[in-house]
Amino acid sequence: MKQSISVVNILALSFVFFLGTLLPILIYFFDDFSFVFEINIIDFLSLLATITLSIVVVYLAKSLDKKDIARNIVVEDLNKLCDIYSENRNILGKLQSKNKNYSLTQARQAINLNFHRADLLIDRINKELEVSFSSFYKKLPAKELSNQTLDYWKWVTDGPFMIGNFTISSAYIKDHETNLCIVHSNINLLIHKLIKSI
């Protein structure tokens, strides 16, 4: 679809160009005008500059448009990553409500699955950055996104929550909220760095 749009653009530009060229010729043959064929070099150069600028602006706008689209995709995925981690809050809330149909084992499996989904998304984001923002990606410390989310993964899956006789408490919920906010901040900072780099 995009290819067909650019062909249409080229055809439209070509049509306008030939129309502008042919029209004076047609007028010359069909009317009594006498043309003065002296060319003012400054006017001619201005015309060339105008044509060149109009073409350059069109292509520059298209290029910036592509960068915007790529950036939006990456930012959307980084926000999705925040959402996945936030789902852990809901799981812990469900555990805290002492729902008899929801065990600690189920909560652990659900949270592990969230971290699995998060890691898959981190892989995808890394590939997107490598393809669309390669110079930005190379400037980042190695494994940056993985490192920025490491502490949160360790805090949840290697903390009290994983110990056999764990009982959820308000204190734990508050600590989780703090650690969740920290990982969100780390991810949002990466979004800001990406936007600033463009």
Binding site: N112, N114, H116, D119, D123, T157, D158, M162, I163
Partner: protein, 109 residues
């Protein structure tokens, strides 16, 4: 001689648990005692690699990673682990990175 192999999802579990056996089923400690260390020793003595397939598992808790791979690293040293173990994962590079990060800097608990 062929490399030693562990396919975690089929040889152990697709839902690894916590750190110690007392914390529940499929713990890191259980994995270490039943599979990881015996296979590691065998691979090392036969001078072959130990290939560990990580795919098909619904997430690796840090406690499991620490209780198994971290413990191995404390036992034999990170450099030795790196010489013997090869991780296989087509699903996630990040998961492999996290495990190597634990091996290189094991959590002592």
């Amino acid at each position: 001689m062929n490399n030693e192999k562990i396919i975690i999802r089929s040889d152990f579990s697709d839902t690894p648990g916590a750190r110690y056996k007392v914390d529940g089923e499929f713990s890191g400690e259980q994995f270490y005692d039943d599979l990881l260390f015996p296979k590691f020793e065998k691979a090392q003595s036969n001078n072959v690699k130990l290939e560990i397939d990580l795919d098909g598992v619904w997430g690796y808790p840090s406690s499991f990673v620490s209780g198994s791979f971290g413990k191995l690293s404390i036992q034999v040293g990170a450099e030795t682990v790196r010489k013997v173990i090869v991780f296989i994962s087509t699903e996630s590079e990040t998961r492999v990175d996290r495990i190597w990060a634990e091996i290189d800097n094991p959590t002592k608990k």
